[in-house]
C-alpha cells in the first residue's frame, strides 16, 4: 500500500522537478555537508581496508625500539637463569631429582612378585576341557562343523 502511495518519480517528473527547483526553489545546503560526506567516505574506506586484512602495521616510534630492547634483555635473562638452574640443581641437592628409571623398574619388579603365574592359577586337576580338546582327543580333527558328527559325539558320550 505504501509503495502505491509513494511511487518513484518518472523521468519526466524528475526533469520537471529539477527544472522547477533550479528556477524557483534553490536553497543553500549546510556548509560542511561535503566535508561530512568526504569524512564518512574516508571512514568507509578505512573500514573496508581493515576488513580486507586483519594485519595491522605498528607505527615506527623510538619508544617502541626501547621497549623491544628491554623485552629482549628480559627474555635472555630468563633463559640464562633457566639454564643455570638446570645445571646447578643436581649438584646442590641430588636427592631432589630421583633416578626415575631405577625406581620405576624396582617398583614393577616388586609388584610382579605378588602376581600368580598362569600355571599356578590353572594348576588345578579338574579343569573342564574345551570342546576342541575333547574333539582332538577323540580323533576328530576335520569336519567339526558338520552337525551330524557333533550330534553323534554327544550321543556316544551320553
Amino acid at each position: 500500500m505504501n509503495e502505491e502511495r509513494y511511487d518513484y518519480l518518472s523521468d519526466e517528473e524528475l526533469n520537471s522537478l529539477i527544472e522547477d527547483t533550479e528556477n524557483n526553489a534553490m536553497f543553500t545546503a549546510p556548509p560542511d555537508l561535503m566535508a561530512d560526506v568526504l569524512g564518512r567516505l574516508n571512514i568507509k574506506d578505512s573500514t573496508a581496508d581493515s576488513d580486507k586484512s586483519d594485519m595491522t602495521v605498528a607505527e615506527f616510534k623510538p619508544d617502541n625500539v626501547k621497549e623491544f630492547r628491554s623485552f629482549c634483555i628480559k627474555v635472555i635473562a630468563a633463559v640464562a637463569a633457566a639454564v643455570v638452574i638446570i645445571a646447578v640443581a643436581p649438584i646442590v641437592s641430588p636427592k631432589l631429582i630421583p633416578d626415575s628409571a631405577t625406581d620405576y623398574s624396582m617398583e614393577y619388579a616388586a609388584r610382579d612378585a605378588d602376581i600368580p603365574t598362569k600355571e599356578e592359577v590353572l594348576g588345578v586337576e579338574d579343569v573342564i576341557p574345551s570342546k576342541e580338546e575333547v574333539l582332538t582327543r577323540n580323533g576328530i580333527t576335520e569336519g567339526i562343523r558338520d552337525s551330524h558328527i557333533i550330534s553323534d559325539f554327544y550321543s556316544k558320550r551320553s
Binding site: 500500500m1 505504501n2 509503495e3 502505491e4 502511495r5 509513494y6 511511487d7 518513484y8 518519480l9 524528475l14 526533469n15 522537478l17 529539477i18 522547477d20 527547483t21 533550479e22 524557483n24 526553489a25 534553490m26 536553497f27 543553500t28 545546503a29 549546510p30 556548509p31 560542511d32 555537508l33 561535503m34 566535508a35 561530512d36 560526506v37 564518512r40 567516505l41 568507509k44
Partner: protein
C-alpha cells in the same frame, strides 16, 4: 559533483519537507554516488544525482509510513494519496526555513550562536571558530548538539501544531 550539492539538497528538501532529513539524504546521495561511480553511464551527472536523491527520499517516506501506526483504510483521508507524492512548493520550503531560523533563535547560548552561524548564515565551522575565537572542535560539538536540539524542537512543534 560538488556543484550540485545545493540542487540535490533542494530536491531532498522539497520531497521530504524536513531540513535535517534532507541533509542526511543529501549526504547519503553523494556517498552512494561516489561509491557507485563505476555504474554511472556518463550522460547527465545532474539527472543521475537527482535520481539517486529522489529514490532515497521516496524510500525514506515509505519507511516512515511503515513505521506509523496505521488506521483503518476507510478512515484514511482520500486526499492524502493524491498529494503525498507531490514535491513541496517554494513557499512551503521557505516557510520550513523560516521556522528553522525561529528555532535557532530559541536555543540558548552558546548553541544559538553556533546554530545561527551555521544553519542561517551558512558559515562553516571553521569560519565560526575564527569569528568567535573559539576552538574548532568546540564549535563542531556545539553545531552537532544544536542540530540535535533543533531536530527535537521542530518535530515537537510539528506534533503539537
Amino acid at each position: 559533483m560538488e556543484q550540485y550539492r545545493n540542487l540535490v539538497f533542494s530536491v531532498c528538501l522539497r520531497l521530504t519537507g524536513d531540513y535535517f532529513t534532507a541533509e542526511d539524504i543529501t549526504q547519503e546521495t553523494f556517498i552512494a554516488a561516489y561509491s557507485n561511480w563505476d555504474s554511472f553511464d556518463g550522460t547527465s551527472e545532474k539527472a543521475w544525482l537527482c535520481r539517486i536523491a529522489s529514490n532515497k527520499c521516496i524510500d525514506y517516506k515509505r519507511e516512515a509510513a511503515r513505521r506509523m501506526i496505521m488506521t483503518a483504510d476507510d478512515e484514511m483521508p482520500e486526499e492524502a494519496t493524491a498529494t503525498d507524492n507531490e514535491p513541496l512548493d517554494t513557499a512551503v520550503c521557505n516557510d520550513l526555513l523560516s521556522r528553522l531560523s525561529d528555532s535557532c533563535n530559541k536555543l540558548s547560548e552558546p548553541y544559538k550562536e553556533a546554530a545561527v552561524g551555521y544553519f542561517i548564515e551558512g558559515r562553516t565551522a571553521k569560519e565560526i571558530s575564527v569569528r568567535t575565537g573559539t576552538e574548532l572542535k568546540t564549535v563542531q560539538t556545539r553545531i552537532y548538539r544544536a542540530r540535535e536540539m533543533l531536530k527535537k524542537l521542530i518535530r515537537k512543534e510539528d506534533l503539537l501544531g
